[in-house]
């Protein structure tokens, strides 16, 4: 396993946000974590990237523990996070934003090749190269943060809600690019999504997260009819709500 999250608990003060979540991602895989608002999806990703500390549990990347490392140390190991809400540096130019992604690399020659490749992948970024990143549209900003994450030359990229606030055709474009990257570069992806349909289409495997716990996991191919996923996602079927903890 490239990344294995093992039974982690995350608390905000006393409030538990994540309770006993385990997720595994193999090299070259696309794994989607779906779940409603407040399910603990973002908290899980932020814990992997070292922003939050788990109160219990283990996180191993490439066989080594990354619990307790600073966000920059986790990034240096090859885990690149694209957090929710398109964190572009608005006062920096598009190029400065992209170049920040290359700061921890020392392979000068390949950086330039990768840089050109990202500009080819997202031609709009090439056009706006010198302009302020804050002037880009929402879709362009999403392209920028994905391009910037790619330039870190990550072994795994985690993306929090790539479709948030984007028009449907732009969401398609973002996923097209992500799938293309898996094909061409063998990029491993851990994607958090609210939309289970989108996740089922893109992922090899999915996890359904609700109320801080994994409700369901499985191969996307086995879950295509969507019924089980909806059940796990909402915690009820045909209008009848389960009482207490859902069990499967």
């Amino acid at each position: 396993m490239l990344l294995s999250v093992d039974d982690i608990y995350v608390h905000y003060g006393r409030v538990p946000a994540v309770r006993g979540v385990s997720i595994e991602v193999a090299e070259g895989e696309i794994v989607c974590v779906v779940g409603p608002n407040g399910a603990g999806k973002s908290s899980t990703l932020l814990t992997i990237s070292g922003v939050l500390r788990p109160s219990r549990g283990a996180i191993n990347f490439d066989g080594k523990s990354i619990v307790g490392l600073t966000p920059e140390a986790v990034a240096r190991r090859g885990v690149s996070q694209v957090p929710e809400g398109r964190h572009v540096f608005t006062t920096l130019s598009v190029e400065e934003n992209l170049r920040l992604g290359t700061r921890m690399r020392s392979d000068r020659g390949e950086i330039e090749t990768d840089f050109k490749r990202v500009l080819e992948l997202f031609p709009v970024l090439a056009e706006r190269r010198r302009g302020a990143a804050g002037k880009l549209s929402g879709g362009e900003q999403q392209m920028l943060v994905i391009g910037r994450a790619l330039l870190t030359n990550p072994r795994i990229m985690t993306i929090d809600e790539p479709s948030l606030g984007l028009a449907p055709n732009l969401v398609d474009r973002v996923y097209e690019v992500l799938l293309e990257l898996r094909e061409t570069r063998g990029l491993t992806l851990l994607i958090v999504e609210q939309s289970s349909e989108r996740a089922l289409k893109a992922a090899d495997r999915i996890y359904v997260l609700r109320s801080g716990e994994i409700q369901l996991e499985g191969n996307a191919a086995d879950l295509q009819d969507g019924e089980k996923v909806r059940h796990a996602y909402f915690g009820f079927t045909e209008g009848v709500e389960h009482t207490g903890e859902a069990t499967f």
Binding site: S49, P71, E72, S80, Q81, P83, H87, F89, R103
Partner: protein, 305 residues
């Protein structure tokens, strides 16, 4: 005519001073959300490093008589060490605390430094003759004479501003610093080393304070344990007027405060001049009522980790 020219140069010189102070505060606010009330005391420390530590009334030169280049390096070095020490011994341990906690810690640091200075050097002001050759005047024409030091202050400030701009725009670490000031968490997720960026901000802030210490004490010729406090107050006001977290705003704010104070002295009737500060602070109130975010607003108040 001569009054106008002299007022312009004095106001630019005073504005430069406040701008430099505001920059020193603004840099740390940018990366750490720290409103550093000890910034003025860094200036004080720089001044006292010139003389031999003793409580005697007459100051004995320590590095005061050094060659100017060596003297600049020593004073700036001393202040940078203080700034770095205050980061690694104090602020680093509370850097995830809310900004109010950081600010109060800086107030505590400020009082500690002042009392340390009193303990070592006594509370009495001491005279120092730093670079007396700069205290003369230069004749621009038959009637217009301006103090050399004021021209030096303006020139030094603008050189520093240009250097700082080049650093922030052209060097990779400068770009990292701008990124960290805008969204620290995202910068860290891209591998930007938080400790290195913050420490560097303290180094630059300390270096600015060191250079200010030299210019300020050349001008006043007096060392006092409270020497930098008044400067810090005005620099802080400049930062607020300019817009917390914006470095351009800090410079603009510095010049607004400096120019306004000097012009007030020139135009106020004799009996009102003592109340200049009331007018300056009145201007602060008016600006903040009209533009609560400051003249050059930023997203600086965003949460950080």
């Amino acid at each position: 005519m001569e009054v106008v020219v002299q007022t312009i140069i004095s106001s630019l010189s005073l504005g430069s001073f406040y701008a430099l102070g505001a920059l020193g505060i603004g840099l740390l606010f940018g990366v750490l959300r720290l409103i550093n009330f000890a910034h003025g005391d860094f200036i004080t420390v720089g001044g006292f490093s010139l003389i031999v530590p003793a409580t005697a009334v007459v100051a004995v030169p320590l590095i005061l008589d050094f060659h100017p280049v060596a003297l600049i390096i020593c004073v700036v070095g001393v202040v940078v060490v203080w700034a770095l020490a205050s980061y690694f011994l104090l602020f680093r341990h509370i850097q995830t605390a809310p900004p109010a906690v950081l600010m109060i810690a800086s107030v505590a640091l400020s009082f500690s430094i002042q009392n340390l200075v009193i303990m070592i050097y006594s509370g009495r002001p001491k005279a120092v003759g730093l670079w007396p050759e700069l205290t003369g005047v230069i004749a621009l024409s038959d009637k217009v004479q301006v103090p050399i030091l004021q021209l030096v202050i303006v020139a030094v400030t603008w050189i520093l501003l240009i250097l700082l701009t080049i650093f922030l725009r052209r060097t990779p670490i400068g770009v990292e610093m701008r990124a960290a000031a805008e969204d620290f968490r995202m910068a860290r997720m891209l591998g930007v080393n938080a400790t290195r960026v913050i420490a560097l901000a303290f180094v630059i802030s300390g270096a600015l304070a060191g250079i200010m210490a030299l210019m300020y004490h050349t001008q006043t010729g007096i060392l006092s344990f409270r020497g930098g406090v008044f400067l810090m107050l005005y620099a802080f006001i400049a930062t607020v007027i300019g817009g917390m977290g914006s470095l351009i705003g800090a410079v603009v704010g510095g010049y607004v405060v400096g120019i306004f104070s000097t012009v007030l002295i020139a135009v106020l009737p004799e009996g009102m001049r003592g109340f200049r500060d009331a007018f300056v602070f009145g201007l602060v109130v008016v600006i903040l009522l009209a533009r609560p975010q400051g003249l050059v607003p930023t997203r600086a108040f965003k949460e950080r980790v």
